[in-house]
Symmetry: C2
Subunit: 247 residues, 2 copies
DNA sequence: CGAGGTCTTGAAGACGATCAACAAACGTGG
DNA sequence: CCACGTTTGTTGATCGTCTTCAAGACCTCG
């Protein structure tokens, strides 16, 4: 995941927002200034823990993070993946107590914004606030799509769908090439995303490779047949709401 | 589902909100006045269709509604259940285009609020707006819990968890008795919620009955052993955020 | 009273889990 | 730069949960 160190921390976030609505110069300036502390989290470390009451919300500047819950027997389920430009816990601003943890899947660069700032913005910047609200609604839309994938798609369809989603999301923030991208997640991580065993993920991955739909070697994912992949995934990006309109 | 026709349409919504934060008299008055049209939807009819661009958001006054998506082969997956006091499509205020349908599982009484009103409130009523934002975040929290249930719980645990959630949510809005409630959903509906076959739902239900955890006869659900049910569900209601605090 | 929806049961089969072992890749320190 | 240990990926065999198909019982409502 190449990152231009000189680019503002918020470049990806701004792109993500501008794919859905216009930002005023003032709003863009506010976004650039609102983040304080920047930290580096190493892969495997928690960014926020279940039960925490964060006093700020966290933005992924680079890397991959995941929201997850663990059950009593230790089974982990990942409920969301977060890429550059994603808030991992914007919802904690209103929910107050975290009902799940957030972990760094790969090394992550993160920036934070105090909840007080968000609260002040909700008074002075209604439009920007609505856009932040929108970001949490996009998380919800992805949750729903994952539910459909887990409940009603085959394992192959489910994995294909995930790959389509990642491709599309990355293209919005301008990461990755035309038909390939970097995805530093292991097959065990994938199994915790899909709710499958890692053995089965391995076999499903081989099936997608065997059908010449994708190549996935280490962290490099190449899409060999975008049409075919979308077909087995029944992928339709409408749920990502990548449409610029007044909100 | 008994409903006092003289009670304000928004009684359940107000209860739901007041379980999370205090409302001012002004806010309570605004909520009571903001809803316009009241309609009766008969079981099986759609309240909102996939692809719609609603100009208002819909509140369930009584009855049970469900968000759902259908795949190409016709498999349906329900991604959320909505009870009295729930907005079924508050998110359409910001997402604009519906990425799923909403159907009336039982007969529903609904009320609607124009998006213009919500937009105006986002300028004049920041606190109330944050609470509406909170409502959509609670939907997200439930989505995540359902993901965990589908991905990592056994079918029995998953169904038990759903029953615990319904019990808890209904208790917040004051519907149902101490240990029983009305739930007008068929086993086929349940299978579309859980991502299982209806045959298996039937067997899982029998298992819960056989263990004397619940009785489910027609629309009447009785919880015979709340402790035991929570245990097999690994249920922890923290994700519902039923805590009154300044937000 | 009949008809359609809902629930229940049995039998067979598929998809994915689990267990176990090994290969390959990676990172770290000597 | 190589050696070693650890993590990650791969494969085979067996097992179990859940699906599918099919049929019959029950129930509710016109």
């Amino acid at each position: 995941m190449k990152t231009d160190a000189s680019a503002p921390l918020t470049a990806s976030l701004v792109r993500k927002l501008e794919a859905r609505d216009d930002l005023s110069d003032e709003e863009r300036a506010i976004i650039e200034q609102m983040f304080t502390e920047v930290r580096l989290i190493k892969a495997g470390d928690d960014i926020v823990r279940d039960g925490d009451r964060p006093r700020h919300s966290t933005l992924v500047v680079s890397g991959v993070a995941a929201r997850y819950k663990v059950l009593q027997e230790g089974e982990r389920q990942i409920t969301a993946l977060h890429l550059a430009g994603d808030f991992v816990d914007l919802h904690s601003f209103m929910l107050k107590e975290m009902d799940h943890g957030v972990t760094a899947i790969s090394q992550c660069r993160i920036a934070t914004v105090p909840h007080e700032t968000l609260s002040a913005l909700s008074v002075s910047q209604p439009h920007l606030t609505r856009l932040f609200w929108l970001l949490t609604l996009l998380d919800g839309a992805m949750h729903r799509e994952w539910l459909v994938a887990m409940g009603r798609r085959s394992a192959v369809g489910q994995l294909a769908h995930l790959i389509c989603e990642l491709k599309r999301r990355l293209s919005v923030v301008g990461t990755g090439d035309q038909d390939s991208f970097t995805m530093p997640v292991t097959q065990v991580d994938l199994s915790d995303i899909l709710g499958l065993s890692s053995v089965h993920v391995n076999r499903v991955l081989q099936e997608l490779r065997g059908d010449n739909l994708i190549a996935w070697k280490g962290v490099n994912v190449s899409i060999l047949d975008w049409e075919g992949l979308q077909r087995v995934a029944e992928f339709d990006d409408r749920y990502l709401h990548i449409v610029k309109e007044p909100r």
